[in-house]
Amino acid sequence: MMSSEFFGNWFLPGIWITVQVTLLSAALAFVIAFPIGVLRTNRLWIVRFLAGAYFEIFRSTSSLVFMFWIAFTVPPVFNISFQPMFAGVLALGITYGAYASEIVRGALAAVPPAQREAGIALNFTPAQRLRRIELPQAWPEMIPPFNNLLIELLKGTSLVSLIAVADMTFAGDLLRLVKNESAPIYTLLLALYFVFAFVLTRGMRLLERHAKKRIGQAPEKTGLFSGMRAKSSIDAVTGTGGAK
């Protein structure tokens, strides 16, 4: 189907690029999501407003156009240059960070108010309550919707092929031009995205079991496809997907 030379030169590095873009954007999104999500519950309206503005702006902009914007308008205006992959990771991380902040906010809001009251009765500061009581209880609730988002992100990384980052979609496109064949190549690409998504899901499922065990909840029974089940009510508020 494809020469081993092409495979070694383009396809394997493309797979590695996809993995890198996925993990780096996910890390960036994760780092953004917690402060933004927490600040959106702040008691000062200006803080809530600014964090909410971040969420609304980046949830509502196309991550593809945003990627083009970073890759093609930022370098000439600021007279700097960077790798296209940097633009891709930045655009995906910032956009998915906005989605993920909603998961953090929702999970924090789902911690029973009685827990906050118990924290006040023991004279914790608001920051201590957040760190010792609210976030540890909210964390296991965040993992299933984070998993959804992570898979969306994985699939979204194919956008970087449009700013000339040689990920596995880019390599597949190249191969299609060389071989003048579409069906086997795109089928292979779909299968690869599925395999990656499946591996991520299993990983997140393990993380969830570990997190639940740590807060004294009995882990649920697990089967081969149990992680595919939508589990949390928070899923509903993070309807991502759609136009990229």
Partner: protein, 271 residues
Amino acid sequence: MSADSSTSQEIPNPAVDGSELIRFDKVVKRYGSNTVLDELDFSVASGKHVTLIGPSGSGKTTILRLLMTLVKPDEGTIKVGDNYLTHEERNGKLVPAGEKHVREVRKNIGMVFQQFNLFPNMKVLRNITEAPVTVLGLSKDEAEQRARELLDLVGLGDRCDAYPSQLSGGQQQRVAIARALAMRPQVLLLDEVTSALDPELVAGVLDVLRDIAHTTDITMLCVTHEMSFARDISDQVLMFDSGRVIESGTPEKIFTEPEHERTREFLSAVL
């Protein structure tokens, strides 16, 4: 920030000498158009055990929640010892208190909730040690030693490593009592602490509280429907109706010869 911390120096603990420890002064609390507390005045002397009784909706629990600063009064002031709880004096004027002042006064108060409200993410021992370590700055060893003593006191010395979800309601409530006591409060607020328990578990919790009431000088403010318990531990019983104290006195007086018609009605309904 530094200016703020210099103004709130250590506020000394109120003394335990039978002097006035808690004072409500014309406290009004409304929820929407419903006035729960209507210019309430009342005080509790240090070391006393006071039980609040009355029909539901009469504002008993609201008093505890105001004292714990879980809700704010709409009007009036609350004093704990010599300090205002929800207000502070600045340049001779009374202004709403900042977080720091509230925490300083609040450290004298502990609360046990109807639904226990243990932290499900922590084992029993850590439920008790977390606040002494984080808030009071005790060493982990010291906090754990104190926690084990308290768990022995409530009869759960062997359940340190259980999660709250593995305990019965009665056991959870006893842990919650130990957790509140670990902060060494001057005042313990008990908000219908047996209402959520199965009948056979009530006695164990009440025994623990009786023990604490008889062996410590802690001031107790108790909302309960357990009239025999109220009779047992109280120095004073306050009868509430429509956000006001309509009658108060020793348990003997209130339970055997109540003066007020509403009190008689209420007692005949619950006894």
